[in-house]
Amino acid sequence: MNAVREYLGRNVRQYGIVAALLVIVLLFQVLTDGRLLYPNNVASLIQQNAYVMILAIGMVMVIVAGHIDLSVGSVVAFVGGLCAIMMSQWELPWLLAVVLSLGVGALVGMWQGFWVAYVGIPAFIVTLAGMLIFRGLAIVLVGTTVAGLPAGFIGISNGSVPNWFGFVGDLDVVTLVIGAIGIVAFAVAQWRSRMSLRRHELAVEPMPAFVVKIVLAAVLIGVVTYWLSLSSGGTPIVLLIVGVLIIAYSFVLNRSVFGRHIYAIGGNRHAAVLSGVNSRRVDFGIFVNMGVLAAVAAVITTSRAGAGVAAAGMNYELDAIAACFIGGTAVAGGVGRVSGAMIGALIMGVLNMGLSIMAVDAAWQQAIKGLVLLLAVAFDLLSKRRAALA
């Protein structure tokens, strides 16, 4: 039991944010008379906030490396507009248009990465310029809106995984299968990691903690699965996209050499360079990656709106940055995790949704979100200061 407590103690920062999310969920659950967690609302929570989560994944990497990206909102509008034009005016198949859009996102990332990494202009300035450049280009391209997009494309953000297996009672079987696969995959991955630790003769976490962790994860996935399977559509397609991205990028940041170089640069750039890390290439890669993820967010945003809109993506950069900071990413760089940023994004999303259900005025919503951001970072700072004293 002591071992379990020690394990929890070491990970308290991560749990602190999860606790904050749970408190906010419970609060709104009460305030909205239980409407917050209606199955359909849970599904649309994910659909509405997918863009923040995707952008925040890229933004975590940017901020951990000690940079910032203010241009992602404009890039969303620019790439989204281009994507819409490709489909409605050039009449390209929508899948091809999506792939081309991701390529355009990569080019945008290369453009900004070039100035940051190889010319050495601070990212704040480069992306501030990018914010103006790409917003301007979006307006030039799109005018106001480009409508008439194919149904398949619109389905990305609004549709669900088709109901191939029918229903059991009210439950969508496809959703249940996806949930079951998720639980099994998680358990297998954990088990393999444990076996590998054993093989290298390293300490493994205590068996009770291991079992509890898997059971908790299974319950969590199970509840979400059950709930989603009750919703009118089942599993939203964007949930799968976001889920795959979260898993892939958690892996990149934690386990890949590229990810480790990002942390090394953010923690002490001099030391990283003197250890043989090619900091320019890493910086360039980070911005290319951010460009691609902004393009993914552009596709999802455009699909959800059903049209290319010049004003799309307004303030998205701020949402993404806020999600990162709420999720414990350090302003000075070197510290931050994808999981944290995702929880930060969910906190913002739940706030949005809860306040909307309560019909709070949009202006007040914004003010409240700002306050939450400030408090979250203050909490982080104070708890670190206390840890330093202890």
Partner: protein
């Protein structure tokens, strides 16, 4: 006891930092109107003494008395000491690069009426001061647009803009070329004729011999002696050196019988210029070599160019206009970036652990693997279990005092941080290890452990270069020692012949003297 002829008397000055006695019962008498030099090895306590005098360390944080003009003084801030006419010019110049010369001269002391700056007065007074120090520059020129020699003169002009009775110059010529140095010394001579007393801290014994009236020698935080350069007995540079180093070696070093093999690394005709002031030569046609199993020392005073030599070889991490050849096992190699240098089996552990050596917010594990992540990864994916295993091995072998390798590097003691840095470079499995001040800021016990690790590395066939400012360390540890002075390798001493006097002789050798 106070004498009429003394402008300054410091008596029984003792200053302690946690765990270290930086100054112990130091005495310093300075006569009115003289140029008084202070000499000592790095870490002898020269700068600490000047910080006590100028109020950087306020009264009450040290023991002892300061008497100025026969009056006891208790300086609490730099302003207090300046009010008594003591002005200090630090080694690192304190000019604001984007402000003009005139603005810099009167910074903090603006020529203003009711808070409104009088620019005409500022400019004309600045011009007058510049003329006094022999600098023909427009006062409106920005400080960053003039060379470091002229910046030094601006600092002096700034000092003269205040009431100055006692001018303290800390290593004023360390960054200057010969011509600028000569001009500065002439200026000091002129001040003397105008009745300004100067204290000059310098490593350059030839300059001291040329300009000073008396010299006080500090060693290990204590006053050793004060020599009169105009006395009956002539004071030679050797005489000063003897005072600076005169202590015995004790058994602080593990026994070691070297097994020396083939030559591994040779550096030929290596010349490096300053990264910003590209005219200034920092390393001047250096030649050296190391053999497998050999520990080679690099002796030199601050600014001699040792770190600059090492970092420029290690992937051009320092300097501009680098020329020369690096040969590995007899054939020339390119080391134009750090990755290439590491690829050729070089490793450089920096003197500044916190700034250049460690990622303080990451764990021991992540720091150890940082320079050789490729060895614990496949297809760009890190095998974190293998990585932990490696880190655990070094934690045990090098006795890094931390509960697990997941401890954050910033929370370790200096000695343990140094062991993490060593682990990082040992794990990259280099053929040549350059260790820059490997025991700086480390207590004696941990030093012994570090020496043992260095010996073990040499025994494993690595070629090791140790840069150190502690002469006993070089003599106790190294098989051969190179001495550097003013960017040149001025001497090479085998272990059998290595004495502190011999090394100090080469370390203070002037550039103008022909080495061969």
């Amino acid at each position: 006891m106070a004498s009429e002829s003394n402008i300054l008397e410091m008596r029984g000055i003792t200053k302690e930092f946690p765990g270290v006695k930086a100054l112990q019962d130091v005495t310093l008498d300075v006569r009115r109107g003289e140029v008084h030099a202070i000499c000592g090895e790095n870490g002898a306590g020269k700068s600490t003494l000047m910080k006590v005098l100028s109020g950087v360390y306020p009264h009450g944080t040290y023991d002892g008395t300061i008497v100025m003009d026969g009056e006891a003084c208790e300086f609490r801030t730099i302003r207090d000491s300046e009010a008594r006419g003591i002005v200090i010019i630090h080694q690192e110049l304190a000019l604001v690069p984007h402000l003009s010369i005139a603005e810099n001269i009167f910074l903090g002391n603006e020529k203003a009426t009711a808070g409104v700056v009088d620019w005409h007065r500022t400019t004309s007074e600045a011009a007058a001061l510049l003329e006094r120090v022999g600098l023909s520059e427009n006062p409106a020129t920005k400080a960053m647009d003039i060379g470091v020699g002229k910046q030094q003169l601006v600092e002096i002009a700034k000092a003269l803009s205040k009431r100055v009775d006692l001018l303290i110059l800390d290593e004023p010529t360390a960054a200057l070329n010969d011509e600028d140095s000569a001009h500065l010394l002439k200026l000091i001579d002129e001040f003397r004729s105008h009745g300004i007393t100067c204290i000059i801290i310098s490593h350059k014994l030839n300059e001291i011999a040329a300009i000073a009236d008396r010299v006080t020698i500090l060693r290990d935080g204590a006053t050793i002696e004060t020599l009169d350069l105009h006395g009956d007995e002539p004071v030679t540079e050797d005489r000063i050196i003897r005072g600076m180093v005169g202590r015995s070696l004790d058994s602080r070093f593990p026994d070691h019988e070297p097994t020396i093999g083939e030559e591994v690394l040779r550096i030929e005709d290596w010349t490096v210029h300053h990264p910003i002031d590209t005219e200034r030569v920092v390393v001047d046609h250096a030649n050296l070599f190391v053999r497998a199993g050999e520990i080679v020392g690099m002796a030199g005073l601050m600014g001699a160019g040792r770190t600059e030599l090492a970092m420029s070889v290690f992937g051009h991490s320092y300097g501009s206009r680098i020329s020369g050849t690096v040969l590995k096992n007899g054939s020339p190699i390119r080391t134009r970036n750090v990755a290439e240098a590491i690829g050729h089996g070089l490793a450089y552990a920096t003197e500044d652990r916190k700034r250049y050596g460690l990622n303080l917010i990451q764990t021991i594990r992540e720091n150890i693997s940082a320079s050789a992540l490729g060895k614990v990864s496949r297809w760009g994916v890190v095998d974190s279990q293998a990585e932990t295993q490696v880190a655990e091995r070094y934690r045990t072998d090098f006795r890094i005092k931390a509960p697990t390798v997941e401890a954050v590097a910033g929370k370790l003691s200096g000695g343990n941080q140094q062991k993490v840095v060593l682990s990082k470079w040992v794990y990259s499995d280099p053929d040549v290890l350059i260790l820059d001040e490997p025991t700086r800021g480390i207590d004696v016990g941990a030093k012994y452990e570090i020496y043992a690790i260095i010996n073990a590395l040499a025994d494993a066939g690595k070629a090791v270069i140790v840069i150190s400012s502690e002469l006993p360390e070089l003599i106790g540890l190294c098989d051969r020692v190179y001495a550097m002075s003013q960017g040149r390798i001025t001497g090479e001493v085998a272990r059998a012949d290595a004495t502190q006097e011999a090394l100090m002789h080469y370390m203070t050798m002037d550039k103008g003297v022909d080495v061969r």
